[in-house]
C-alpha cells in the first residue's frame, strides 16, 4: 500500500500493463525523455525503452492514425493527446475512423487502443486548455469513455482500458493530478462500465465525474449537517454506462442531481437525465436538476473560473433548494 498521486498513478497503471504485455506501446508528444508535460509518464521511457515509448512530432492526426493502424495489426497502443481540448485537431480519426472501423468492416477489425488525455479545468488555463469534453466522445457510437477520480481508479481503469479490445478514451482530470490516495501493491485491474457509490444516502442521488466527485462529496458532508442525506455516485464510465447502479439509486431516492463540469448543453448529465425521465419517471419525487458550468467558454482569470465551475457552495444550494421543493 502506498500513497500515490493521481499523476503517478497514471504511470503506475501504464507500467503495469507494459510490463505484462509487450504489445502495449505508448506514443505522444514529449512523453518520453521528459516524462510528459503533466509528468504522467515519468520513468516509462527509461523502463521500456525508446521503441516502446515514442516521442512524436506535433501531429495529433499522425499520432492517432499510428495508434489505430497498429491496433488493427497486433499492437495495443496507448496514445496521449496532451490536453483534451486538442481532440478537436484529430477528431476525424477518433470519431470517423477509430470508432466506426469495426462496424463498417462487419467485425473484421479489432481496435484495442487507449487514448489518454488531460481533461478539465480549475488550473486557470483559459478557454482552449480547460475544457471537459467527455460528452463529445460519449455522443459517438464505438467509443468507450472513462474518467477516474482517484489514484486507485486511475490504475485500475487504465489496466481495464488497455485490456479492452475496444477503443477507450481515458480522460485524466488535470485538476486532480496533484491529489493523492492509497493504492495497494500488486496488480490492479478494474472494470469498465461500473459506477461507484462514494457515499450512500437516501434523500437524493447526486451524480458526478472527475473533479466534481470531490466537490459533490464535500457538498454532501455539508448537507448532512443540515439533515439532508445525499447519495453521491461517481459515474466513472460514460460508455458503457452503469445504468443499473444509477437508476437503482435514482428510483430509491426519487431525486436526481447531476454535477457536470462541462458547459450546460448536452453535457453527459443530459443523457442520464433523459434516461431517468423515461425509466424512473414514476419514482421521481421532484424535477431533475443539472448543476453544470454555464454554457460559456471558460474564462482564464482565477476569480472568474471559480465563479463558473460548479462549486461546493453551488451544489449545496441547488440540492438544498431541490430537496425542499
Amino acid at each position: 500500500m502506498a500513497q500515490l498521486s493521481y499523476r503517478e498513478a497514471v504511470s503506475r497503471g501504464i507500467a503495469q500493463e507494459m510490463a505484462r504485455d509487450g504489445r502495449v506501446m505508448l506514443i505522444g508528444e514529449d512523453i518520453g525523455g521528459a516524462g510528459g508535460v503533466f509528468k504522467t509518464t515519468g520513468g516509462l521511457s527509461e523502463q521500456f525503452g525508446r521503441t516502446r515509448v515514442v516521442d512524436t512530432p506535433i501531429s495529433e492526426q499522425a499520432i492517432l492514425g499510428a495508434a489505430m493502424g497498429a491496433a488493427m495489426t497486433g499492437l495495443r497502443p496507448i496514445a496521449e493527446i496532451m490536453f483534451a481540448d486538442f481532440f478537436a485537431v484529430c477528431w476525424d480519426i477518433v470519431v470517423n475512423e477509430i470508432a466506426k472501423m469495426r462496424y463498417m468492416t462487419n467485425g473484421q477489425v479489432t481496435m484495442p487502443l487507449v487514448i489518454k488525455s488531460g481533461n478539465g479545468g480549475s488550473l486557470r488555463m483559459g478557454a482552449q486548455h480547460s475544457q471537459s469534453v467527455e460528452n463529445w466522445a460519449m455522443a459517438v457510437p464505438g467509443l468507450k469513455v472513462v474518467t477516474p477520480s482517484t489514484p486507485l481508479d486511475v490504475v485500475g481503469l487504465m489496466a481495464a482500458a488497455v485490456r479492452c479490445d475496444d477503443p477507450v478514451l481515458f480522460f485524466e482530470h488535470k485538476g486532480l493530478y496533484a491529489s493523492k490516495g492509497e493504492v495497494p501493491d500488486g496488480e490492479i485491474v478494474d472494470e469498465l462500465g461500473k459506477a461507484a457509490i462514494r457515499r450512500p444516502g437516501k434523500d437524493a442521488t447526486v451524480l458526478a465525474l472527475g473533479l466534481m466527485v470531490g466537490r459533490a462529496l464535500d457538498a454532501a458532508e455539508e448537507l448532512a449537517r443540515e439533515g439532508i442525506d445525499v447519495e453521491v455516485i461517481d459515474v466513472r464510465s460514460l460508455v458503457p454506462l452503469d445504468t443499473q447502479t444509477l437508476l437503482t439509486s435514482i428510483s430509491r431516492t426519487g431525486r436526481l442531481f447531476t454535477v457536470e463540469e462541462n458547459p450546460r448543453l448536452l453535457g453527459w448529465g443530459a443523457e442520464i437525465a433523459s434516461i431517468a425521465a423515461d425509466e424512473c419517471f414514476w419514482d421521481l419525487d421532484m424535477p431533475i436538476r443539472r448543476i453544470t458550468t454555464p454554457h460559456i467558454p471558460l474564462p482564464s482569470a482565477d476569480s472568474l473560473e471559480d465563479a463558473v465551475l460548479p462549486s461546493v457552495d453551488r451544489i449545496v444550494q441547488d440540492v438544498r433548494k431541490g430537496v425542499y421543493l
Partner: protein, 354 residues
C-alpha cells in the same frame, strides 16, 4: 494527338495531356509470365467496374460509388508487385485496389448491392471495402486520415519485424489536406515501411488540381519536404508502375523507409455515380481515352510477340468470372436486420449500458 481545347462547360483551365506512346518502356526487365498476370489484372479491374457501372444504371447499386475506369494500371501494377501479407489502404475509389489483392469479385459486387453476402455484410458499402484476410485494411471515405492509419500498420510491421510493407493509395486532391503532411513527416521520421501512392488523375471532384495547388506536381513536388526523392511516373503504363512498385516495396522491406510515388493517370468517367464530368475539356478527355492503360498494354504485348488470341482467352476468362460473380452477388439475400446491431464492440454487440 488531336488539338486540345481547354474550355469546358463551366469555364476553362489548362489541359494536361498524356505522354506519347510508351514504346520506350517495352524493354523494361519484366518476365513474360508477370506481364500476362498484369494484363489479367487490368482486364479484371476494367471488366468488373464496367459491370458495376451497368448495375448502377439498373438501379441495383443504391448509394454512391466511385469508379477508377482508366486508372487500372496503378492497382494492377501494385497488386502484381506486393507480397501476399503486405497491407493495402485504399480510398472510397477502392474497388480496383481491393480486387487486385485477390479479393474475390462476388462479395465486392454483393457489397455494392447491399446484400448479406457482401464483403462486409452490407454494413460498409462501396466506399469502405475491407478484407483483412487479403491484407486490405480498409477503404476510407474521408480525405486524409488513412495516410496516418497506414503509418500505424507500417509501425506495427516494423515492431513485429514481419517484413510486411504497407501501401497507401490516395488522390492528387488529398495532397492538400493536413493529414497528408502529418503522415509523410511521421513516416519519414520513423523510417516506416510504407509506400504512399498518389494517383494523380488531375482532378479532385470537379476542380482541376492545378487550380488549387501551389506546385505543378502535387505529390512529387512535396517529397523534398519530407526528405524523400521526387518520383513521378506514368500511371497508365502498368509495367512502369510494377517496376516502381517493386523498387519501393524492396526499399521499405529492407529498412530503407517510406516512398512517395506520384502516378499520373486519368479517370474515364465522372468523380462518382452522379457526375457527368463536364468540367473537363473535351480534348483532354479524348486524348486520355486514347491513352488507355489496356489499349497501350495490349499493344506492347503484341510488340513483344504475345499472340492476340492468348490475350483474348484471358479477356474471355475474366468476362466469365465477372458474369459468375454478378449472378452470385445478385442471388444474395438482404442482410438480417439484426446484423445492423452487431460488431460495434469486440464482444460482437452494440450495448452501451448494462
Amino acid at each position: 494527338m488531336t488539338a486540345i481545347r481547354t474550355e469546358h462547360e463551366y469555364g476553362a483551365h489548362p489541359s494536361v495531356l498524356p505522354p506519347a506512346a510508351s514504346t520506350a518502356q517495352d524493354d523494361l526487365d519484366i518476365a513474360p509470365a508477370v506481364r500476362l498476370d498484369l494484363y489479367r489484372r487490368l482486364e479484371e479491374l476494367r471488366q468488373f467496374e464496367k459491370r458495376a457501372y451497368d448495375l448502377f444504371m439498373q438501379q441495383l447499386v443504391k448509394g454512391t460509388s466511385h469508379l477508377s475506369l482508366g486508372m487500372e494500371a496503378i492497382s494492377a501494377g501494385f497488386g502484381g508487385a506486393m507480397r501476399k501479407d503486405d497491407y493495402t489502404f485504399a480510398t472510397y475509389r477502392g474497388h480496383a485496389h481491393t480486387l487486385s489483392r485477390g479479393v474475390p469479385m462476388a462479395p465486392v459486387l454483393a457489397e455494392l448491392l447491399g446484400r448479406a453476402n457482401g464483403l462486409m455484410g452490407g454494413k460498409g458499402g462501396s466506399m469502405h471495402l475491407t478484407s483483412v484476410e487479403h491484407g486490405v485494411l480498409g477503404s476510407y471515405a474521408i480525405i486524409g486520415a488513412h495516410l496516418c492509419v497506414a503509418n500505424g500498420a507500417a509501425w506495427s510491421a516494423q515492431v513485429r519485424g514481419s517484413g510486411q510493407v504497407t501501401v497507401c493509395f490516395f488522390g492528387d486532391g488529398t495532397t492538400n489536406i493536413g493529414a497528408f503532411h502529418e503522415a509523410l513527416n511521421y513516416a519519414a521520421v520513423f523510417s516506416l515501411p510504407v509506400v504512399f501512392v498518389c494517383e494523380n488523375n488531375l482532378y479532385m471532384e470537379y476542380t482541376s488540381i492545378a487550380e488549387i495547388t501551389a506546385v505543378p506536381s502535387p505529390a512529387a513536388d512535396r517529397a523534398a519536404a519530407y526528405g524523400l526523392p521526387a518520383i513521378k511516373i506514368d500511371g497508365n503504363d502498368v509495367d512502369v508502375v510494377y517496376r516502381t512498385a517493386a523498387d519501393a516495396l524492396e526499399l521499405a522491406r529492407s529498412g530503407g523507409g517510406p516512398s512517395l510515388i506520384e502516378a499520373v493517370t486519368y479517370r474515364h468517367g465522372g468523380h462518382s455515380r452522379a457526375d457527368p464530368g463536364k468540367y473537363r475539356p473535351a480534348g483532354e478527355v479524348e486524348a486520355w481515352l486514347a491513352y488507355d492503360p489496356l489499349t497501350i498494354y495490349r499493344a506492347r504485348l503484341a510488340r513483344l510477340g504475345v499472340a492476340e488470341s492468348e490475350l483474348d482467352v484471358i479477356r474471355g476468362d475474366v468476362a466469365q468470372a465477372v458474369d459468375e460473380a454478378t449472378e452470385e452477388a445478385k442471388n444474395g439475400r438482404l442482410p438480417d436486420v439484426e446484423s445492423a446491431f452487431t460488431d460495434v464492440w469486440a464482444d460482437g454487440g452494440s450495448q452501451w449500458r448494462n
